[in-house]
Symmetry: C2
Amino acid sequence: MFTPVRTRSTFEEALRQIADAIRAGDLRAGDRLPSERILAAQMAISRPTLREAIKLLSDAGVLEVKPAPGGGAFVRSELVPSNLLEERSKLRISEVSGVLEARRAFEPRVAQLAGLYGTEADFEAMRRTIALQRQHANDRERCLQLDLRFHIWIARATHNSTIVAMMRFLLHQLELAWDMGLRGGPEETRWAIAIHERTLAGIVSGDPEAIDAAMDEHLSFLERIWEEESGRARLRKPPDFLLPHAQRSVLRSS
Amino acid sequence: MFTPVRTRSTFEEALRQIADAIRAGDLRAGDRLPSERILAAQMAISRPTLREAIKLLSDAGVLEVKPAPGGGAFVRSELVPSNLLEERSKLRISEVSGVLEARRAFEPRVAQLAGLYGTEADFEAMRRTIALQRQHANDRERCLQLDLRFHIWIARATHNSTIVAMMRFLLHQLELAWDMGLRGGPEETRWAIAIHERTLAGIVSGDPEAIDAAMDEHLSFLERIWEEESGRARLRKPPDFLLPHAQRSVLRSS
DNA sequence: TAAAATTTGTACGTATGTATC
DNA sequence: CGATACATACGTACAAATTTT
């Protein structure tokens, strides 16, 4: 009933915010962070505390700091070593399939809302993400990060902050699931890129059924990988009401 | 891009865990908490720190501590004063409608999964919650708490921890929305109870379409209240793909 | 060339909260 | 329950570095 409390210190929280901004693509390589005093004010923390976060990111090669007018902290690498974020929480094997089920329940609607309310700027960000993914198709870690970024952008395209927050949580769980072995090889990576393109095309078209179909392909893909790679942890079969209409009832073959 | 970091101290986190257990109904009035040493061990904190949390809850009349063999901390009141949880985060008016939209996107599927995987124990907990709600129909604060508890149980009935966590977040946002004026009078309270009964009946029956219809009634109800009470903050009209099939396309009348 | 402006770097005292005994 | 020890965060002041003027 009660679980270990884990409090994060202030500088860890500041570090997480900066790292998240980089991983989500809000800060790109070469970008300059606000000056320490301004950033500390925005985060409502003291400058020494902020400096502790910056120092760790700097030591890890994520940031580079130059003391000079026009200087400051610059993004050097968009890859944030995972040991900096020390995820205390682990997922149990049996919970991985639950993450996929939760995506089934949530993400198709989110994508449909993205098709309804997304702007050209949102779509352009998704296109850029896919392009980067194709560019780094052989760097698996990078591709996983870009996959998260793509899905965050789907949520952002809804222009609904609650949905964005829920999606961030869901993708965070998914990241933990990846650490448990849910990951494909380069073959799967190329396939994932193609699926992203179809998903985006559906969202841009705004056709809810096309979006549903693309998301179904996306999620079926992940479910298949998880079943193959883990074997033992069997998945609850997605029920009819979580599938696109075209695939429901007797038509289901898989 | 960056937001104020807010760290919670250890005893605040412990207090939140205890308060959440009470509000969710896992600890009922009269129940006895584990002994301080055991509870501190479960939470992986020191005993004095745990005592600080207990003292605040005791001073607020939520717990009663009896120093005796066989004594301990007992739940005295299931109503936790909100000033103990000091919610720093506020919702902007424009974000309230987003919370309802997120519920539209998520909760109907969750309820359908609850119908598929829920056990008799889950249904019984929901029945008890509704009974309590009818019993305290005139105590609005109490009713709101029981409303949250009912929806948490829907999520729990899915037996999917990721979904439970997402629903907790969503309901937390909803709680903030209530503080912004989304609340009805006693008339609405009775109506809400009736809707809960229909929702539960749908879940117990396991019929996805019945569940969808009940949830739609539930959410339409909230949307109407919000439109009436706030007036200015207009709601994005729920798109067709977030409605039950029976109500889609030309058939929509509201 | 030199001074000024801007930004990081360093140090210390204090307050608060947590863990240990 | 109290007292002590320790870690973390804060505020402030000043030093150092480098570009701009």
